[in-house]
């Protein structure tokens, strides 16, 4: 009995000392954290989200002096991991999630994920990556720019094959694009961005949708050509590549792509949420953090908890709208 009261007390003293040495945050919750904080990733180790989480964990440890652990819970196209974050893990502030949107919104709206949008609350945005459409520079359409390809697709309906991941941002952005431009693509479903990129390199398909960091090397070596991005603001890494605004397509801004943010169970106490949001903001503002992310090929676009919440709400309504329309069209 004596022991059990002594240990937390000792912890607390150590913690207070630790906290004052690293971060002078006034609203630090009492006896928190008293063990490592987990960052849940709903993907297997090795992918883009996993890398983002691991880099964030290292940088958070550096800035805050606390311990962060990455916990992979893949399965069900992110539903397993995100359900764990939203429902199954105790709302005690020791489980954060690195969430990717609109993927998560799609699972809620269309795939019957057993939690709602408001079960997860964003407490800091890390980056947004738009969808990039690519062609193989050696193929028959390799020399064309975006508008020429659209013209070609109009003349040859259904001939151009576009590789996407079914029911994800790549798929939906491509469908919105094709619908508004009045062209018909043959959409080829792949299980992941890499297999589609390989099929494009081997000229088994004509176009592919992917994220910049997954294909940067192929663009730099001249094997692939970036044609357009699914956002209204140009990407600094891809100067001169037209945005949706440039080519006259109306698409919700900063939505169809990968918005990576840190989420937490909404039932966690406000005190802890604010504390963590503060810590994340502080970490992401740091110059060395930016460099560390750049080293793994991620350009930071930090958002505060409030900004990220707005983005999250917008993305959710854009996804709901898309599926409402798609289902209505399917019924006709």
């Amino acid at each position: 009995m004596l022991k059990s009261t002594l240990i937390p007390a000792a912890c607390l003293t150590l913690l207070v000392a630790g906290a004052s040495a690293y971060a002078a945050s006034p609203e630090k919750p009492a006896d928190y954290p008293n063990r490592p904080i987990n960052i849940v990733v709903a993907y297997p180790p090795g992918g883009g989200i996993d890398l983002t989480a691991r880099t964030l964990a290292t940088q958070m440890e550096r800035i805050t002096g606390l311990q962060f652990r990455v916990e992979n819970r893949p399965g069900g196209g992110t539903v397993v991991g995100n359900t764990y974050l939203a429902k199954q893990a105790k709302p005690d502030g020791y489980t954060l999630g690195l969430v990717s949107n609109p993927t998560m919104s799609i699972t809620i709206v269309d795939q019957g994920a057993p939690f709602t949008k408001d079960d997860i609350q964003p407490i800091g945005g890390i980056t947004f990556a738009p969808v990039v459409w690519l062609s193989n520079t050696e193929s028959k359409i390799g020399k064309m720019d975006f508008n020429q390809i659209i013209a070609y697709a109009k003349a040859h309906p259904g001939e151009l094959k576009v590789g996407v991941i079914p029911n994800g941002a790549f798929d939906i952005a491509t469908r919105i694009l094709a619908k508004q431009k009045g062209v018909e693509f043959t959409i080829v479903p792949f299980q992941g961005g890499k297999p589609a990129a390989v099929a494009l390199l081997g000229e088994h398909i004509d176009l592919a949708a992917n994220y910049y960091d997954e294909v940067a090397q192929y663009i730099d070596t001249g094997k692939m050509k970036a044609l357009a991005i699914s956002d209204d603001t140009p990407m600094p890494q891809l100067p001169g590549v037209p945005t949706m605004k440039d080519i006259g397509v109306k698409m919700a801004a900063a939505t169809w792509g990968a918005d990576r943010f840190v989420g937490i169970n909404a039932n966690v106490s406000e005190e802890i949420k604010t504390y963590l949001a503060d810590m994340i903001e502080k970490t992401l503002k740091d110059e060395d953090t930016r460099k560390a992310f750049e080293k793994v090929g991620i350009v930071l676009i930090p958002q505060t908890a409030k900004q990220e919440k707005a983005l999250y709400d917008e993305a959710y309504s854009a996804v709901s709208e898309y599926f409402a329309e798609a289902h209505a069209a399917a019924k006709k």
């Binding site: 297997p44 180790p45 090795g46 992918g47 996993d50 890398l51 691991r54 880099t55 290292t58 916990e71 992979n72 819970r73 893949p74 399965g75 069900g76 196209g77 539903v79 397993v80 359900t83 269309d110 795939q111 019957g112 994920a113 057993p114 094959k161 991941i165 079914p166 029911n167 994800g168 798929d171 043959t186 959409i187 080829v188 479903p189 792949f190 299980q191 890499k194 297999p195 990129a197 390989v198 099929a199 390199l201 081997g202 088994h204 398909i205 940067a216 090397q217 192929y218 730099d220 070596t221 094997k223 080293k295 793994v296 090929g297």
Partner: protein
């Protein structure tokens, strides 16, 4: 390249190589803890090292893990890692014949040399071979998968119709999950954990590890418990080299198959030994009893696994494409060290890559050395009482299947797979067509979907020479398989009739 060679021989590098191999062997030898899990768990540890040492360590854990899997496969008939399933048939049968030490030595020798050859291929042929990964479109994958399934269905001794049925049952089971066309849940009955289907590693642990725990528990309750394996037989290096020398064609054939399947991004070390073993069974002219302690079969399995690991590094380094779950972890680890695998890696940081390549070569020498010198100390495993063995295989099977995705559901899947395997055994159905179908099924459906979307007619598919070769080979295997079986059946009926005549007389 020379600089890389010297870097791989510094004391630190040598230490990291050895450490990796030893950790890998321990991890691999424990049933349930797989080689892939081993490297995934050690990724954080590699951050403490330089990029090249981290990679060498992961390479060592992986190569060691796959060899370690063979140790438990040979000694207690439990594949320590899914890649050693085939090794357990041949190796354990050899061990039961009193050749445990020989089997352990042979698997180290075959695996070490196979890995060594593949590492040389990686060093010198990466630019040439990497284009092969790109030439494989959906038509080629579909035909290769049909070929692989055919060869297993035809080559097994159990009746071909029941093999075909088991294969279809396996293919049917893995359609549960998100469908590859629309990405919506299919046959999941509202269970979210079923949305990604059954986890393959959990299923394999259930099929091959947990079933063995149940069997050992049963054995330990018998009054007369027989010794698992007699470990007394001595084996000289000369004898092993002789056995390998006389099967050099087998070894090279399996190594080439291993490298080839490794280069293909979708086929990893789990499926490779099945295919290599089945091909060997078809083409081997030594008249060995495959599946019951054939040395050629053991060599085919071990050489192809190690060669596969080397082969999968080719697209990984040159194109940034992972060939398996393990390769994906390698890519993640490289990226976290600030190195992006892909076409620019050779140009930007050749020293890291060459150090890693040479280190990888050295890793296989350590595996070889351990297998030849250290394997005799593994005999202690056989002194453990069967009750303890059964208990620990059970706990590690559960922990291993839990740790893949940190999911209790995967443990339930593993139990289900155990029950399924035992059920099939009682039914006298072969589980292997199911295993192949479960491993290859998801890939097969994905490629069929891509095929139907990208090819307009059957004629288009027939214009692809690689695909045609595989289809033709599958057709010939079926024809010869059926003829061979009919002959055997004819002979058996004749023999039976002869016996009846004797009875009548």
């Amino acid at each position: 390249m020379l600089e890389g060679f010297l870097n791989a021989l510094t004391p630190t590098s040598l230490f990291v190589e050895m450490l990796g191999v030893v950790i890998g062997i321990i991890f691999g030898a424990i049933p349930g803890l797989t080689a892939t899990l081993g490297i995934a768990l050690f990724v954080p540890v590699t951050f403490l090292m330089t990029a090249e040492h981290g990679m060498i360590m992961l390479g060592g854990i992986y190569a060691g893990g796959i060899y370690g899997g063979s140790i438990s496969a040979v000694l207690i008939n439990v594949p320590g890692t899914p890649a050693s399933i085939v090794t357990s048939w041949e190796g354990h049968a050899l061990a039961r014949q009193g050749k445990a030490r020989f089997a352990l030595g042979m698997s180290a020798l075959a695996s070490g040399t196979g890995g060594f050859i593949s590492a040389i291929a990686v060093l010198f042929l990466t630019p040439v071979l990497s284009t092969l990964a790109l030439r494989f479109g959906s038509a080629e994958y579909c035909s290769l998968l049909i070929f692989s399934l055919t060869i297993v269905i035809v080559m097994l001794e159990t009746p071909m119709t029941s093999n075909l049925l088991s294969c279809c049952i396996g293919l049917m089971l893995v359609t549960i999950g998100l469908d590859p066309v629309e990405g919506t849940p299919r046959f999941t009955f509202g269970v979210i954990d079923l949305m990604s289907g059954f986890n393959l590693v959990a299923v394999l642990i259930g099929f091959f590890c947990m079933t063995q725990a149940v069997r050992l528990a049963l054995d330990s309750l018998q009054k007369h418990t027989e010794n698992l394996v007699d470990f007394s037989g001595e084996t000289s290096l000369r004898e092993m080299l002789g056995a390998l020398g006389s099967r050099i064609v087998t070894h090279l054939r399996s190594t080439v198959i291993g490298i080839f399947l490794g280069i293909l991004p979708a086929l990893g070390p789990v499926e490779t030994p099945f295919i290599a073993h089945a091909i060997e069974r078809r083409f081997n002219r030594k008249g060995e009893d495959f599946g019951n302690g054939s040395v050629s079969g053991l060599i085919a399995s071990e050489a192809s696994i190690s060669a596969n690991v080397g082969g999968s590094l080719i697209p990984l380094i040159s194109l940034g494409i992972p060939g398996s779950g393990a390769a994906a972890v390698f890519i993640g680890s490289l990226t976290l060290h600030g190195l992006q695998p892909g076409p620019l890696l050779f140009a930007n940081s050749p020293e890291v890559i060459y150090t890693f390549f040479w280190g990888f070569l050295a890793v296989y020498i350590f595996v070889l050395l351990f297998g030849l010198i250290g394997a005799r100390y593994c005999a202690f495993v056989l002194k453990i009482p069967q009750s303890v063995l059964a208990t620990f295989i059970a706990i590690f099977s559960i922990l291993g299947s839990y740790a893949i995705n940190n999911s209790i559901f995967d443990v339930v899947v593993m139990f289900g797979a155990t029950a399924f395997a035992l059920w099939f055994q009682v039914l006298r159905f072969s589980i292997l067509p199911v295993v192949m179908a479960v491993i290859l099924g998801p890939l097969f459906e994905q490629q069929v979907v891509v095929l139907t979307k990208t090819q307009n007619s059957v004629f288009d598919i027939l214009q692809r020479p690689i695909a045609d070769c595989f289809l033709l080979a599958s057709f010939l295997i079926i024809v010869f398989g059926v003829i061979g079986r009919m002959r055997k059946k004819g002979a058996r009926i004749k023999a039976l009739e002869g016996m009846e005549q004797i009875d009548d007389a």
